[in-house]
Symmetry: C2
């Protein structure tokens, strides 16, 4: 990029901090997770345990997939299944000190990537919108 | 961008053509739309009428919002409400000949933007992933 020096080179300046990130816990039931997703309007959010450590990611699609039976949508499963039963535990993670280049490599295939601090606690998320805002700004210089 | 000349300057090279795009019709019931979204794994898809014209966009969140009653999730509404009752009709559109700069300006706030040809027919979609792949490629040169 022409203005490489002008773009901050780590993830940190683009971070959406933890306090602004909607999330659920592994022990929550699916009906609670569905409510949080629907009310916040997000299609997927992080799953954090009680010690604020990242456990995975849950999306509305994962929930729907879990309750889609062969004959009908089995809505009662929303009250019997938990987030930890359907969440995706295999997710990429970034550190606050990681390079922007590494982050962009991940964001190509993930709408957002969770960021952890050096102690392994959830620090926030890196999103496609934040990097695209920067790209858009560069194009309009 | 340093390699501005190397990046194609219209939307066309980044287009995901119509034949590859999952969609539903305005007259479909919500249960059909929910099935298409869940099975394809997409969180939102275009709504096209029978003459292949773009009518709007529907997402799983819009469907959930529509069936979330005050006391419980009113799942029976999936069989009585139609896509046209809940879809978002107010969506940005691009033409095949539009500049990449214009497209990036829109993609900052929209995960995908529908593209129409000169006759006003749906031609395909422009997605964040396609532009991010290009950005990633440029960074690794
Ligand atoms: N309440 C809202 N206000 C303004 N714009 C909204 C919005 N909800 C959605 N959008 C727009 O839609 C995009 C896709 O949202 P989605 O929920 O599918 O996908 C989101 C969601 O899964 C997650 N995410 C973003 N912000 C979050 C937050 N505060 N808490 C939890 N998850 C978040 O990161 C993904 C990518 O987000 P990104 O910002 O790049 O892209 C967002 C943003 O451009
Ligand atoms: N089946 C799949 N195979 C590979 N990767 C997948 C995938 N489903 C989702 N993804 C990944 O997740 C991102 C967000 O998907 P989402 O369905 O929320 O949001 C999607 C969806 O709403 C729509 N979309 C993308 N491709 C579509 C298609 N072929 N038909 C209909 N809608 C599509 O455009 C949005 C942005 O797509 P984008 O590719 O930038 O970004 C995609 C892609 O990186």
């Amino acid at each position: 990029l022409k203005d490489k020096e002008a773009i901050p080179m780590t993830v940190k300046p683009f971070l959406i901090s933890a306090d602004k990130v909607a999330h659920v816990q592994p022990e929550n039931y699916l009906d609670h997770a569905l409510l949080v997703l629907t009310k916040t309007g997000y299609s997927a959010i992080p799953v954090l345990d009680t010690s604020y450590k990242l456990q995975g990611l849950i999306s509305i699609t994962m929930i729907m997939d879990a309750i889609l039976g062969l004959e009908r949508i089995e809505f009662e499963r929303l009250e019997t299944m938990k987030v930890e039963d359907v969440m995706n535990r295999n997710i990429p993670r970034l550190r606050l000190t990681d390079s922007l280049t590494k982050a962009i490599g991940l964001i190509v295939n993930h709408p957002f990537v969770c960021v952890e601090n050096d102690d392994g606690y959830f620090a926030g998320i890196f999103t496609r919108r934040e990097i695209l805002k920067q790209l858009n700004k560069q194009l309009h210089k």
